[in-house]
């Protein structure tokens, strides 16, 4: 469509303005993270302080928290993606009584707010001795991820080639072999997107680890950051460094695989 040079110029101004609005706060936290810890430190030692990061890592115990985050995220991703592939395969390629009902049952799980089921789940898992364990923190997130993952994989399997499945079946392949040797290999992009989204949601989750580990023994990175903000009140440099470290793994993944993130969150949201 043809537009005048003036309009095009104005569009660039708008584009740059909005990019700055988004990047401004990020620039603030990054510059605080590299900044001096106090006014006196600023007078003595210049303005660039990368040593804030190892110091925050040490004082804020981010090493320990990030390790917990990695363990929880790996458990949630592996279990929920496997279960979602299997369930999505059934709902996407097989016709059986109750399939539609099952689809809606899983869809319900995408909409249910965490705070609705987390309270009774906490008290029931406390009786079972699972609170303050990695499994207690992972289990509700596995359930939520399965709801989205099943929906996501079902969509993929529905659009996968019918002819391919029929051909494999004529070759005598069972449903298990068709899944793992035909559909999963060609569905790698869809599965990678699901892995990335699940990993991100688990890494960023706050309420579930907060509730499920009241004594703080299973503290994930975002929780560690919130705790650090409450405990460590001298200056903001170390807090900012901690914030940058907590966000960094996902932001790095996003920079390299942004298509997957954007496509996943946009298409995953479009329900039928």
């Amino acid at each position: 469509m043809k537009v005048s040079p003036i309009e095009r110029g104005a569009n660039y101004v708008v584009l740059v303005a909005f990019a700055l609005i988004v990047l401004g706060p990020i620039a603030v936290i990054v510059s605080l993270a590299f900044g001096p810890q106090s006014a006196s430190a600023a007078r003595e030692g210049g303005l660039f302080h990368p040593e804030n990061f190892p110091e925050a890592w040490e004082i804020g115990r981010f090493g320990q928290y990030m390790l917990t985050s990695v363990v929880v995220a790996v458990i949630v991703v592996v279990v929920s993606v496997l279960a979602s592939i299997l369930a999505g395969y059934a709902l996407g390629t097989m016709r059986f009584r109750g399939a539609t009902l099952m689809f809606y049952v899983f869809l319900l799980g995408i909409m249910v707010p965490t705070e609705a089921f987390i309270v009774p789940l906490y008290f029931d898992l406390r009786v079972a001795g699972l609170t303050n364990t990695v499994w207690g923190v992972a289990a509700p997130q596995i359930a939520m991820s399965i709801a989205f993952g099943t929906y996501w994989m079902r969509t993929y399997f529905r659009t996968s080639s019918r002819a391919l499945i029929d051909a494999a079946r004529l070759d005598g392949a069972g449903s298990m072999r068709i899944l793992w040797q035909v559909l999963v290999p060609i569905g790698r992009p869809a599965i990678l997107t699901l892995v990335l989204l699940t990993f991100m949601w688990t890494w960023n989750e706050f309420l579930i680890p907060l509730v499920m580990s009241p004594n703080g023994s299973v503290r994930t990175a975002p929780l560690g950051l919130a705790f650090f903000q409450g405990q460590y009140t001298q200056g903001t440099a170390l807090l900012a460094a901690g914030a940058v470290m907590v966000a960094l793994p996902i932001v790095v993944l996003y920079i390299f695989l942004q298509r997957h993130f954007i496509k996943g969150m946009i298409e995953g949201a479009v329900r039928e």
């Binding site: 469509m1 537009v3 309009e7 095009r8 708008v14 584009l15 909005f18 990019a19 988004v22 706060p25 605080l32 929920s80 279960a83 299997l86 369930a87 709902l91 390629t93 097989m94 016709r95 059986f96 899983f106 249910v112 707010p113 705070e115 609705a116 089921f117 987390i118 309270v119 009774p120 789940l121 906490y122 008290f123 289990a139 509700p140 359930a143 019918r162 079946r169 449903s175 991100m200 960023n204 706050f206 907060l210 509730v211 009241p214 975002p222 950051l225 919130a226 903000q229 914030a243 907590v246 966000a247 996902i250 932001v251 996003y254 942004q258 993130f261 954007i262 969150m265 479009v270 329900r271």
Partner: protein, 295 residues
């Protein structure tokens, strides 16, 4: 979509699909569906989380109606809907329309940038904005620099301005998602429609209302559903920035659920709020989709 061969096959082995569904169904059922049913059950009891519980019928729901703090929390959630959903939709429509009309360079890069807040942990976002809003923070510094020092205030310690200040963080987070969604929708509108409209002599404003807006109805529905639900479920942001304060000026339903269940020992009321919140989320999903589907 489902081939004939699948039908024949499934008649022979009806248990096969259920075997594939089983792992997902067991985990999802045990850790989400069952607790959801338990929530409905808990909400009929008065329980402090430790001792014996007493059956109180619907008293906890009645309390939601009469407890001023809870009523306030739901009202605040509604205010947040404006900042999370309405404001980003208006900005997103303008921005996406502008960018789709003119082929500007660097659109892909711009898309990646405005989407970025979506992938950053809310706690990090909250910590960041707490610094920006601090009494000696960059926002007040900027206002003083441009001679508007009179407007400078402790943004998160002010009874009037804290809720909008928290809401604007939501706007910052949600606008990118909404814009990217709408851009995807607008790029699918056939160019010929606009050219035909131009021949009829309609200007950009009429084009927007007559062509663009109806064509992206589906995307608007999705954007509203996502952002309204996000607003109603706000927890991390309030927990980290204000803890519901000052006073009760920024408390929200999710925060009340957490506070009552785990700090005050009012488990029954907390679960009742959770049930009500779930029903509201479902109702909004239903209503928004019903309006969106109607052609």
């Amino acid at each position: 979509m489902i081939g004939r061969s699948a039908t024949r096959r499934s008649a022979r082995s009806a248990w096969v699909p259920w075997a594939y569904l089983a792992p997902a169904l067991v985990l999802y059922g045990a850790f989400l569906l069952f607790p959801l049913v338990r929530a409905a059950q808990f909400s009929l009891f008065e329980w402090d989380g430790l001792g014996a519980s007493t059956f109180v019928g619907l008293d906890n729901y009645v309390e939601i109606l009469f407890d001023e703090r809870l009523r306030e929390a739901f009202w605040h959630a509604l205010v947040l809907v404006f900042f999370y959903a309405v404001l980003p939709l208006v900005i997103g429509l303008l921005l996406a329309n502008l960018l789709t009309r003119a082929q500007v360079r660097g659109l892909g890069f711009f898309r990646s940038v405005i989407f970025l807040p979506q992938v950053i942990a809310m706690v990090v976002v909250a910590v960041t904005w707490r610094q920006i809003y601090a009494p000696d923070g960059p926002l007040n510094g900027f206002l003083r620099m441009i001679g508007l020092g009179a407007l400078a205030r402790p943004w998160l310690g002010d009874y009037t301005f804290t809720l909008p200040a928290v809401g604007l963080i939501g706007t910052w987070v949600c606008t990118g998602l909404v814009t990217v969604l709408l851009m995807a929708g607008m790029s699918r509108v056939p160019r010929e429609l606009y050219e035909a409209a131009r021949l009829d002599g309609s200007g950009p404003v009429r084009e927007f209302f007559a062509i663009t807006l109806p064509m992206v109805r589906g995307e608007i529905t999705v954007a509203l559903t996502l952002t309204i639900v996000a607003a109603l479920k706000t927890f991390d942001l309030v927990y980290v920035t204000t803890s519901g304060g000052p006073g009760t000026s920024t408390t929200v339903p999710s925060y009340e659920i957490y506070r009552r269940a785990f700090e005050l020992g009012e488990v029954g009321v907390a679960t009742a709020v959770g049930v009500v919140l779930t029903l509201i989320v479902f109702a909004i999903n239903g209503v928004v989709n019903m309006i969106g589907d109607r052609k």
